[in-house]
Amino acid sequence: MSDKLKLYDERVKRLKDAIELREPDRVPIYGLVDNWALSYYGITLEEALKDVELEYKAYSKALTDFPFDGALASRVTFPLNFVYSLGGGIFNNATETIQIATGHSEIMAVEEYDELIADPMKFIRDKILPRKHKIFQEGTVEEKFAKYANSLSIFFQFGQTTKMLAERFKTEHGLPITNAGVNHFMPGDMIMDYLRDFKGIMRDIKKCPDKVAEACMAMVDPMVKDTFGKMRTVSDDKYVHLYLHLPQFIRAKEFEKVYWPSFKKYVEAVAARGVKILILFEKNWEHLYEYIQELPKGSVIGFFEEDDLRKAKKALGKTMCIAGGLKTNDLYYGTKEKCIEVAKGLIDDLAPGGGFVFAPDKVLATKNDAKAENLKAVTEFIVEYGSK
């Protein structure tokens, strides 16, 4: 076995031990890196989208200059060329990140909940997609199909090159890219971000919470089917990735009614097949710990953005691996010494007994999310100090 493959297996095991709530040989470090890789290397998003080899060079440098044990993605995380081929998409193209342009997602009427509930994928395909994407709006069916066929070729190419790049990270760098190609939002997030927008769903939760809850439950089965359509085999190095947006805005009782049942059902279905789930719990989730502590034990690695990780570990540490800890604010504006001091405290308090992974508090998306010298100093410190 090559040195790189041995290194790969060590890293996979290190993360697996942490997620399964055992103490690994040292504290794992997760590369929560997105478009920051591009500014670190010195290229733009546009340049990366035109040249896969350049994109790989940028992500290789960003993910191997630091001793990460696993990483979010091998490339720009969303197939933007595919999105552009559909006629534009909902992302804010003025930024160097993948941010949804706000205020443009209310494309489903509140009266359409029953249709969504009856058959979510048929409703999305027949009603929502033509409203969203220019290629489905004008011309004959054959003309629309021709444009869609072009988009499909871009989609398949993206899928193939993404698999190839992950394999290169394995064989050339011994680095697990944990993204199995299953990047989901929970049904509540999907309704907010892509169907009703923020104002719409906040109104719906007050005025027709039963409909919202029912719609969320109706979407679970297609999402589970999609998950296992993509993950034909289960392996320790590939996780489902979930990004949770809505709960930060709603109260616990609203969460319990509309969001939690479908979230729990999906996670349980995935965990039951032995798949690990990486969840970005955005903003603060302290008011919801009584719920998420019921998630399947030893299956989830939870990245907490604004929570006090010591409180999170106390409440949730018997259920899930807690990840995060270093604020991007400190990583960019702080000193190396401050970053190391924070890391030391986290290791002292959270590492004993296992179930902790070190990472920044949020995905590194822009240049201002981290200074390389701070990231290098703190990750190298953890390799030394975080070992048994």
């Binding site: 994928m121 999305i124 997609l129 033509p130 069916v141 199909f145 989609f155 892509y194 359509g229 993509k230």
Partner: protein, 40 residues
């Protein structure tokens, strides 16, 4: 049949069938594309 249903049917017959054998695989790709286009 809606335009979108027709477009998906054409894609299934003319493109997906070229490299996918089972209906289950084709269903899977259609589902993945539907969700991806929703997220786009």
């Amino acid at each position: 049949m809606s335009d979108m249903e027709m477009i998906f049917k054409m894609a299934r017959e003319r493109i997906l069938s070229q490299f996918l054998n089972s209906d289950q695989e084709k269903d899977g790709v259609e589902l993945a594309l539907t969700l991806l286009m929703l997220y786009s």
